[in-house]
């Protein structure tokens, strides 16, 4: 019950705690893309959709910027809950924007691409956020600054992946295999995000136990 009340109180403060300007920027650019795009083919609709997915990922990595991270590190509200609150705030923006994008561009696409492009967005988003959480664990208070260029670099990397491992493919015969890879990336990203969002003490204890069993060190609590 306390957690729910806390979440509600924190949600009211989210405008000051979370960097929302990039999300607003992404919203504006997405709007422009949607108004501007006049797809003649399904490919002409897919690329703007992919651009919107990248934009939303770019904007969402800034929600983890926390100038007061050091101060609030030992509060009773666990790290995963604080991270989840921030990601929840990002999703409140992302889900409707993506929904509207699908409504606008979806009619031009083969039906399966509604799912595929959503898997692509989820994969990019989760991997981008996992990378950002990793940067916060390394002590960065503004991980978005480094994470956003990394998202661009990562997107280019995905773009250049050659035939057998291509992910941003348009060839119908590769769709299923490519999106299986996207799904795997999504799963890996989710696992990494969950792992990185755990309390650092809990993580390092597990790491220590692993290292301890190798080095014969005594482990806390044993």
């Amino acid at each position: 019950m306390i957690r729910l009340t806390q979440a509600a109180l924190l949600a009211r403060l989210s405008g000051k705690v979370i960097r929302w300007q990039p999300l607003m920027g992404a919203l504006l650019v997405t709007g422009t893309v949607l108004v501007w795009t006049e797809p003649l083919t399904w490919k002409g609709a897919l690329w703007p959709l992919r651009l919107i997915a990248v934009l939303l990922t770019l904007a969402s990595v800034f929600v983890l910027d926390d100038a007061a991270a050091n101060v609030v590190a030992p509060v009773p509200l666990p790290l995963w809950a604080r991270t989840a609150l921030r990601l929840g705030f990002a999703l409140v923006w992302i889900v409707p924007v993506w929904g509207v994008s699908l409504l606008v561009l979806g009619p031009y696409l083969p039906a399966v691409w509604i799912l595929w492009s959503t898997v692509e967005l989820a994969g990019m988003l989760v991997v981008g956020l996992a990378g950002t959480v990793m940067l916060t664990r390394r002590g960065m208070r503004e991980p978005g600054v480094a994470a956003a260029p990394s998202v661009v670099g990562g997107t280019l990397l995905i773009f250049v992946l050659p035939g057998p491992v291509a992910m941003l493919t348009l060839r119908p015969q590769d769709w299923t295999a490519a999106h299986l890879r996207w799904s795997l990336l999504l799963m890996a990203g989710l696992a990494a995000l969950t792992w990185m969002s755990r309390d650092p003490v809990r993580r390092s204890t597990l790491t220590s136990q692993l290292a301890g069993s190798r080095n014969g060190l005594r482990v806390p609590g044993k």
């Binding site: 100038a67 007061a68 101060v71 509060v75 009773p76 220590s208 060190l217 806390p220 609590g221």
Partner: protein, 282 residues
């Protein structure tokens, strides 16, 4: 005395750097000062006690509980000021402390606001509680950090360099505040300010290379330099400086006819860390 902080053979390594190396010490209610040169492991120790870090080996018990297994219970009874606190600068002082209070599970609005006003008053920021943090001076921001650490009357208060950037008046006010808190609670104070330690602390732990090289009272630390501090008309000893009276205050092995003076905690600390040869085994 109940031991509220118990560390036994604690080791913490970052990559190849061993920040804490078999650290063992015990302390209880009252103010304990942590002294040590840069890189001695003070901040790592404070972060470990704040349950932000876990030890690689050894055990840490705080307020009678295991610091890893029972960290949530410990965090509910903990106040922490990090060495380099950051703030969302768009917040006013009140809003920021209120934000931390919510994170500390104070969900009742009226009680929380009363508590926020109390701690802001304790650090003398009532007049600026409506001002945005970005408009405050460095010292005032430090006081905001101290205020949030005092929320909820924590039983264990960890303060990393709390007086850095405070003006003399605020430092005295801070001493008053900490000594009052330390009357019935455990306060650990990591600092380079030996005057603060001398004025406030009942116990001192000196760290060097991640291990405790001294644990005792300020008087015992001062006693380490007994007979090794003297004044003379010329520079002598291994470390000396000219005083306002034009004499030289020397630390080290004193000559037989030396004009010995009463040592300070700083003298004991310097001798202990081996910056000057000590006749007292560390």
């Amino acid at each position: 005395m109940i031991d509220t902080v118990v560390l036994d053979d604690v080791t913490k390594t970052f990559g190849r750097h061993r920040a804490l190396s078999g650290l063992t010490f015990t302390t209880g209610p009252g103010v304990t000062g942590l002294l040590g040169p840069n890189g001695a492991g003070k901040t790592t120790l404070i972060r470990l006690l704040a349950t932000v870090l876990a030890a690689d080996s050894g055990s840490v018990h705080l307020l009678g509980r295991d610091s890893v297994r029972d960290r949530l219970e410990i965090r509910r009874r903990l106040g922490y000021l990090p060495q380099d606190p950051g703030f969302q600068r768009g917040f006013t002082v009140f809003e920021f402390v209120d934000y931390v209070a919510i994170l500390k599970e104070m969900v009742n609005r009226r009680a929380r606001h009363d508590e926020v006003r109390r701690v802001i008053g304790e650090v003398g920021l009532t007049d600026v509680s409506g001002k945005r943090i970005r408009t405050l001076s460095g010292g005032m921001r430090r006081r905001v950090g101290i205020a949030q650490a005092l929320l909820g009357e924590p039983e264990l208060v960890l303060l990393d360099e709390p007086t850095a950037g405070l003006d003399p008046e605020q430092r005295l006010r801070f001493r008053d505040l900490i000594s009052r808190i330390g009357e019935n609670r455990t306060v650990l104070l990591s600092t380079h300010q030996t005057e603060d330690v001398a004025a406030l602390c009942e116990r001192i732990v000196v760290l060097r290379n991640g291990a405790s090289v001294f644990s005792g009272t300020p008087e015992e630390l001062r006693g380490l330099a007994h007979g090794q501090v003297w004044v003379s008309g010329e520079r002598a000893g291994m470390l000396s400086w000219r005083t306002a009276e034009g004499m030289f205050r020397n630390i080290g092995s004193s000559p037989p006819d030396a004009d010995l003076v009463s040592p300070t905690i700083e003298d004991g600390y310097l001798l202990l860390l081996g910056d000057v040869p000590s006749e007292v085994p560390a």
